[in-house]
């Protein structure tokens, strides 16, 4: 089933100093449960794509559909994970995790119970009453992921979600997040400039050109569906890394 579709989407930013064409004729679709990575050079328009999917900005041309319905404005259909975990320091982990439910006015007892179950299931049960500054970077990122899962979005959007972490933590958190997303059978759109991250996680990789971003190519690496760390050990991993790297820097 087609979860997300972008059809002939272009976007031009207006500002006093002029127009910035960020996206040109972007067309792709994502099916249910797929993990898509979008790679491209810095400033090419990756974040712009996620802003469009979440409805924060409207396309200049073209249309975007989630479950066949056109996206008009933000409506809680996407779970956005940003570079920094953006946990609210004054809220406990438990209360951070139900933030989305409060915003969507879905903070019923069942839904809160579901959020609490997710915390238990993914090892944060003992930290329910803790504040974010008492958790490690990896645990904070996991709490941020559970916050996006708790209101059951159709699609997860990850914008360079791991790039603020140090290398060691990043590998572990990638594994962690990947595992949770797969277990919860979520559709995910990951944006990154880190090619190895994309190759280690994604089912499909979309390569964007310099700004204005056009789709250069879409790859479906024949890598096994295993955890990102295991994938990095696959013999064909470096082959795919090379292919994508050449395509990005071409």
């Amino acid at each position: 089933m087609e979860k997300l579709k972008m059809k002939d989407v272009s976007l031009t930013y207006q500002s006093l100093s002029g127009e910035t064409k960020a996206l040109e004729d972007i067309t792709f679709s994502v099916s249910d449960g797929e993990f898509i990575a979008i790679v491209g050079p810095s400033g090419c328009g990756k974040t712009t794509i996620l802003s469009l999917v979440s409805g924060l900005i409207a396309p200049s041309e073209g249309e975007i559909f989630i479950n066949g319905e056109p996206v008009r404005k933000p409506n809680g259909k996407v779970g956005y994970m940003l570079q920094r975990d953006q946990l609210f320091e004054w809220r406990t982990i438990e209360s951070n995790v139900i933030l989305g439910l409060e915003i969507c006015k879905k903070a019923t007892r069942e839904n809160k119970e579901y959020a609490r179950e997710l915390l238990e299931k993914y090892g944060l049960g003992d930290f329910k009453k803790s504040f974010p500054n008492e958790l490690s970077g990896g645990m904070r990122q996991r709490a941020a992921l559970i916050r996006t899962l708790s209101f059951r979005p159709e699609i997860l959007l990850l914008d360079e979600a791991f790039s603020a972490l140090d290398f060691q933590t990043r590998l572990a958190v990638c594994d962690d997040v990947y595992d949770i997303i797969k277990k919860e059978k979520k559709t995910a759109l990951l944006v990154t400039h880190d090619i190895s991250e994309a190759v280690s996680m994604a089912d499909k990789i979309i390569v964007l050109s310099q700004r204005p971003a056009k789709i250069k190519n879409i790859y479906t690496p024949d890598l096994p569906v295993v955890s990102p760390l295991k994938r990095r050990e696959e013999p064909t991993f470096s082959k795919w890394f090379d292919i994508i790297w050449k395509e990005v820097s071409k």
């Binding site: 933000p74 609210f88 409060e102």
Partner: protein, 264 residues
């Protein structure tokens, strides 16, 4: 257990240091009072115009006749009214300015001008508009506090993380939800520092107001004492003022501690 020994040592050192500093602070005060009294007694300074600790203490005894508690009550009431009104109204205006970018842009130059204007210059206008009396004094205090309140509270609001706003928007949050869930709780520490500044400014405004118009209050006692050359009265009133201002500041500090405890 070596570790905990070291820790105990560290704690002891820390406490000793704290006691030392407190002792020195008290020592400075005592030395100052002692020298003041000494110089007054041996005639290095003229205690008719400089007063002296013993004369101030005597004055405290005599103050009963001046209905001192009435004066204190009036000044404290004016100060608290000015403080509360300016904090509440200023914060509401800051929320309005956060809400509407257009309004913010329109009012920006006015805020800048009002902020740099010495409010005391408005004294005569205030007296004519609201009449001489408590109303004028409270108005003066409000005028002095409110612009700073608006500007500082608004700056606090605007320093909230863009990423967090984006996160809430992507969840479908409206402006009101962003205000309630993010902006206000995020701004609490800043708000408390604004309260601390306002305590000081409210006193400035109240005393200035009393200098201008009043027939009662500590500011009035100081002015009156100056006019009839009763420097002991001026000094005694000033000391009381110091104590009151400190108490009010401590009250805010206690509120701060309470809130911090709740948030951690």
């Amino acid at each position: 257990m070596k570790n905990s020994d070291l820790h105990r040592q560290f704690i002891r050192k820390h406490r000793n240091n704290k006691i030392k500093i407190l002792a020195c602070q008290i020592g400075v005060l005592i030395l100052f009072l002692f020298l003041w009294e000494l110089f007054a007694r041996i005639g290095i300074i003229d205690d008719f115009i400089m007063s002296s600790p013993s004369r101030i203490i005597k004055m405290f005894g005599a103050l009963g006749e001046q209905h001192i508690f009435k004066h204190i009550g009036i000044t404290v009431l004016e100060c608290i009214l000015g403080f509360t009104l300016s904090t509440v109204i200023g914060s509401l205006i800051a929320i309005a300015l956060w809400w509407s970018v257009t309004l913010r842009k329109i009012l920006e130059p006015y805020l800048v001008v009002l902020n740099s204007l010495p409010k005391i210059a408005l004294g005569p206008i205030i007296i004519i508009w609201v009449g001489a009396g408590m109303k004028a004094i409270v108005t003066m205090a409000v005028l002095i506090c409110i612009i700073v309140t608006i500007i500082s509270v608004l700056n606090g609001f605007l320093s909230a993380d863009e990423g967090k706003i984006l996160l809430l928007q992507s969840m479908g949050a409206n402006k009101f939800q962003i205000l309630i869930k993010l902006i206000l709780p995020y701004s609490i520490p800043n708000f408390i520092s604004v309260l601390k500044i306002n305590v000081g400014l409210a006193w400035v405004g109240t005393i200035m107001g009393e200098y201008l118009v009043s027939a009662a209050g500590l500011g009035y006692l100081i002015i009156y004492g100056g006019q009839v050359f009763k420097l002991d009265l001026v000094m005694a009133s000033t000391v009381i003022l110091c104590i009151l201002a400190t108490l009010m500041y401590l009250a805010v500090a206690i509120v701060e501690k309470r809130i911090n405890k709740k948030r951690r």
